[in-house]
Amino acid sequence: MISIHAFILIPILTAFLIPFIGKQFPKWHLGWVTLAVPILLFSFFVSKIPVISANRTITGSIPWIRALDLHFAVYLDGLSLIFTLLIAGVGSLVVLYSIFYLSKEKESLSHFYAYLLLFMGAMLGVVLSDNLMVLYLFWELTSISSFLLIAFWFHRKKSRYGAQKSFLITVGGGIAMLVGFIMLQVMTATNSVQEIIAMRDSIQDHELFVPALVLILLGAFTKSAQFPFHIWLPDAMEAPTPVSAYLHSATMVKAGLFLVARFTPVFGGEATWFWLVSGVGIFTMFWGSFTAVRQNDLKALLAYSTISQLGLMMSLFGLGSAALQGGASIDSIIYTQAIFAALFHLVNHATFKGALFMVVGIVDHGVGTRDVRKLGGLLSLMPITFTLSVIGSFSMAGLPPFNGFLSKEMFFTAVLNAHEMSMFSMDTWGLLFPVIAWIGSIFTFIYSMFIVFRTFLRPYRRERLEKDPHEASIGMLLSPIILCTFVILLFFFPNLLSKYLLAPAMNGILPTYQNMEGFIPKISAWHGFNLELLMTAGVVILGIILMNTYRFWNVIYDLFPEKRSLDRGYQWLLAASESGSKKATDHYMTGFLPNYLYYIFGFLLLTVGGTLFLSGSIVFDPSNDAPVSLYEAIFVGIMGITAVGILFAKSRMTATLLNGVLGYSIAVFFVLFKAPDLALTQLVVETVTTVLFLLCFYHLPEWSKEDRSWKVRFPKIILSIGMGALTVLIALSVQGNNLFESISSYFEDSYELAGGRNIVNTILGDFRAFDTMLEVVVLFIAGIGVYTLVKLKAPQGGDKIERK
């Protein structure tokens, strides 16, 4: 069997080859080359359906970094299979569509397809990885490729803005998720998702359990554009339409749903999980559909509608997680149906939303605008596109005979069941779910109708359009036609999908319920006259009324003015963090050397002194000290007085001479300490240094007085004394501790080893000759530096020429 790993890597590797293929065969449209990859992937994953639907899973692991428990581990079960099929299937259709959408002459196709393939591989990696860290890696790779694709038309300001926004939000959530993963890893000591699921019961009471849950949800919510992180998705619509259809409706934004589904066996049954996932989901569902109605740009409308639909699926996953509360039992099996509905709608949404995006792309391509205020009356001009938009929109609105009707009914069933839940204080709040869901559905109905009616019906006004409208080429229509076929087929044969894909996925998400009766429902379009059907009828009737009276009640949107929107909040936050960090940096990066030295010394004192103090390593042991002779005492006294004297020296001349006294005294110490070579060198160097100082003084003014106010002097004195004390403490502690043998005795064999009797000289000239050579190099470089500084000057104005 060919390893699944290879199929994750094929798109990524092809992405790197695409630019070369483009160079090599400039006459080809790169889309045709690219198309082979998703088709290959799709046929591979389709061939796995029999294995998976027999309730088996495919695993494989390639060790990567063993010490860190990092393995490129893959796990293919029903849940991953649904996603892989969506990624490869919609991917093929999107690539096919893009071949006709993007012009070979005008666009940089090698970039486009390379990014798209990179995304495809990353997305497959997300849904197939079993290792948390590898999953995270692929997760961020999808954010990066999404960023690149949104900014594909990077010369547009809005594209760059949208790309940055989506990147900041999704990667920010991703980092939170990483922290959550690390917490999980800390609790379970494993990186494998399946092993974590098996360990669920033992970690439930861990204090990190809920924080990990919240952080992982942050990752899922940002990726799946849940309120209040949804604001990036409308701006991401600056991407080319094939990208919007693929990443921002069918696949990437569903990664968050995947994550929630994948971790349901771990966190499901926990009240925090239930309320966050279902609460945020249902509110996002309402808010997205409510906001979608007011949009004038068709793509923005679809973006908000995607947000709303993602919220719908999210809330279903949340409601379904209640089934795990208190373990699997036949009583709570009814709640698992929410998850089934979520999975079903996941597939349905990919079909009708993908088709709708492509339709909008066709309209945009054909007439040059997506603004509904300019569009209208395209029915007779673009009949096929119109039919496709009707299929997509009606399915989204939840009307028969389209697949959206089925999953919408199941959604209503799920919220009605939730209303009757007894756990999680649902008896108080439970009623909110069906009510919000119903109101949200009304708005969903309205905007779905808007797409059809405003674009294709209403009077046709040519003067408002940029181009002459015409029906799109068959190549461009092919992909949405295929998707719409699925929309209808899934309505008539939903149980095929259920048997081969949804059932294995359910077993993957809720393994404890496996084989229980009623776990996998039979989907049917007709249930009799029940409450769900009444709700749908109400949606249609109220929807039609509200749609026709839109201009009377659209004042309601004035309650949510642009300037108080979340979007403004994001922009403000971004601007504030920019100016805030600039202010903070300006505050301490003053450009004055003394300030920087303050930071350096202060930090040194704090860390080294702190460590010394906290670790209790301060030792004072003078027992090994040599006795102090009279000469030495005299010279210590001289040096002490001289050093203090420098501080009070009135003129620079005095100070320099006092420095000379210090240097010569050290030479005397070198003599006393049996270091004749040092004494000689010190004498010479000190003399030359003093001369250099004096030479320099000839060219410089007398030094000015320092600021003697206490405000300036006090911190200086404190820091100086601190540094002195720290040095003394460290030196004494080093002398008091004898951690290991000195290596110096080795050099005492200098005559045998290096042929010299002067040990210091042999060290310098033989044992450590390289050091000495480099020391000479330093001297040489300093010499060149001095010469350059003194002698060379840039010619007048030369610098300016260079900068031009």
């Binding site: 003394p594 030295l597 090994n624 000290d625 040599a626 102090v628 030495e632 040096m639 050093a643 203090v644 420098i646 620079r652 320099t656 420095n659 210090l662 050290i666 110490f669 300490f673 049996k674 270091a675 040092l678 060198t681 010190q682 160097v685 240094t689 250099l692 100082f693 320099c696 003084f697 060219h699 410089l700 003014p701 030094w703 320092e706 200086k716 004195i717 100086s720 540094m723 002195g724 040095t727 080093v734 002398q735 000195s742 110096s744 050099f747 005492e748 009797r757 002067n758 040990i759 210091v760 060290i763 050091d771 020391e775 001297l779 300093a782 010499g783 530096g785 001095v786 500084l789 003194v790």
Partner: protein, 112 residues
């Protein structure tokens, strides 16, 4: 003896730090020179003082003082000399181009 010298090193470091924090360039250079003095003394103290004879192999003495710190100090003296002279040249050049020796007034030349 070691303790006394260590205390002296501490005093020198304090003086050097105080000078380094000045705004006058000459004081800063002087501070760095004194800091080198302090470190040289510290290094030689680390090897233990007066524990034997001059580290030149001969017949008379049996033990020698630690030669390794001496070799290190010799290198350090030369390097600190190089650094000090570079500092002085830099100071000279800065004053020539900017016309101040006050660090608080140095804000670069106009064409930077």
């Amino acid at each position: 003896m070691e303790t006394v010298i260590t205390l002296l090193v501490g005093l020198l470091v304090s003086v050097a730090t105080y000078l380094l924090l000045s705004k006058n360039v000459i004081r800063v250079v002087l501070g760095s020179a004194i800091l080198s003095h302090a470190i040289h003394l510290l290094l030689i103290t680390m090897g233990g003082l007066k524990k034997g004879g001059v580290p030149i192999l001969g017949d008379k003495v049996e033990t020698y003082v630690d030669a390794l710190p001496q070799a290190l100090i010799l290198t350090a003296i030369v390097i600190s000399f190089a650094v000090t002279s570079f500092f002085l040249a830099l100071m000279y050049r800065t004053y020539q181009s900017i016309g101040t020796d006050n660090l608080h007034e140095m804000r670069g030349t106009n064409d930077e």
